[in-house]
Symmetry: C2
Subunit: 304 residues, 2 copies
Amino acid sequence: MDIRHFRYFVAIAETGSITRAAERLGMEQPPLSQQIRRLEEDLGVSLFRRQTRGVVLTEEGRNLLPRARLILDLRRQFIETAHGLARGEQGHLRIGLAGAIPLLPAIPFAIRQFRTIAPSVTLSLEESNTPALCEALLAHKIDIAVLRPPVPDPERVQVIPLLDEPTLIALPKGHPLTDQPRLHLHQLKDEPLIIFPRELGPGFYDAILAAYQNAGITPPLGQQAPQVAGTIPLVAAGLGISIVPQSLHQLHTGGVTFHQIHHPAPSASLAIGLRKENSTPLVTHFSQMLQQIFLKGDPSPPEQ
Amino acid sequence: MDIRHFRYFVAIAETGSITRAAERLGMEQPPLSQQIRRLEEDLGVSLFRRQTRGVVLTEEGRNLLPRARLILDLRRQFIETAHGLARGEQGHLRIGLAGAIPLLPAIPFAIRQFRTIAPSVTLSLEESNTPALCEALLAHKIDIAVLRPPVPDPERVQVIPLLDEPTLIALPKGHPLTDQPRLHLHQLKDEPLIIFPRELGPGFYDAILAAYQNAGITPPLGQQAPQVAGTIPLVAAGLGISIVPQSLHQLHTGGVTFHQIHHPAPSASLAIGLRKENSTPLVTHFSQMLQQIFLKGDPSPPEQ
DNA sequence: CGTGACCATATATTTTATATATGGGTTATG
DNA sequence: CATAACCCATATATAAAATATATGGTCACG
């Protein structure tokens, strides 16, 4: 009772003749006779009544025929689905995003574009910090990540740079420097720096401190924020200042103003994270699309 | 892409190991490795991620697994249905009944009993005359018939006698003999005999005429009725008398009285008609049940 | 009464799956 | 650190099964 037998059964039923069915199946008549006979023996029912002119379905055969057709259909669907998965037109893609990254206009743009190109692919988004995203990648909990390099395990995670995002200084409303659109870091040397735990984004963390060091100052460290975007409310509360990726200026939380930074300014690098082995077409597609989008420039960059 | 491959796929997915799946499948590990590898190549997707400790489904594999299970399920159902058909527990039985036979209490009784024993079998009933029933049998339009022998083609239709049903004389109301419960045929020698066309039931037709002949009389032939039961209204209309199977006395058409017949009385034979070749279990079951019922005697015979 | 259409059977061939033997890589264990 | 255990992959050999070829039988049709 193989797929083959279902095909034989249906073909004979549809042509009403073993000989013609054999032609249609691209085989000779005797093996088809033999196979259908064996099938009937296995099932214990005779599917066809042999006549001098071809064969006709028995009552039992009529009963079983639609079931056989269904199975053949489902098998075809199975194969088509598999091919769809193989070509990256179907399936599920789990995307991990580092903190504050969904605020970059390019990300929702990329997701919209991907849904247009591959509408049968379902997506799931997850927001986390860079080290956790790497772990999730390696544990196969997500398929691709947009994170802030460097990654903890560069041997197993491939990093494709996307963008060096400028950063902004966030000042609390009412701060004396609020009226200046562009600031030097040394103007802030006495302001407590609100920053996230280094573990959540070592690359960005280090970039910020390096910029201070290049400016020749060491800021007092203020309260720690739970995450990158979490610095903003603390700034608004007057606990200090913070340095955030440009995309965060979209957070229209009252009580904070954003200001560009003169050289030396830290930058918040952005990159794709992939497992080095086992890349699926879905991952490749999405990754290439992201690179293309960022190559052309952020499609609607926030003009200051 | 065979049924086998679906089984292999599901087994590996469920055990999480090629080695253990091979055990469960009653085969060795290498062929299973090889087959699943070929399957993956054919489909173009990798279904499993090989690890040092067994294998785990890929995203694509997770997607395809339920489909594979469904196909295996349907295949199992297919086989079970076929076996059900083989044992006569499922399917469809087309029963043909000669004229006036549904009025025999044994017939609805048999049908009810059969539905109890084989509830998944659907039945269709058809009423016709004996020669037409034989044709329908041979043309595979019905599967079994209850008819009045003899049959036109005894070489291809098997006849199993069931019953010699007594006959009754039908008299119009107001007839001088109405008050006599039992009549001799010769009492009716001048009454026009209403009878059906011989083609519709040659056996019964000849039995009636033979009885007259044995009684030494030749009745005048009255109007022809369209069928056996169709004689009753004509009798009621006063066009003559008729001789009908006992079961017809159930037709409580006003205007007619029924009377038993002294020897020599014709009898209306009843028999099962089957195709000699190709008997299915359903046909055998129903046939045997009918024989048993009639052997025990009509379960609720009409007591005069 | 011969001819063609069609299915069944028998034997041969080829394909295909499976078993056996073996190697490599990773993880647990003394 | 070395050894053993586990598990998957590969290579070759064997066995099984489907298919092709050849042929015969039956029934309809001209």
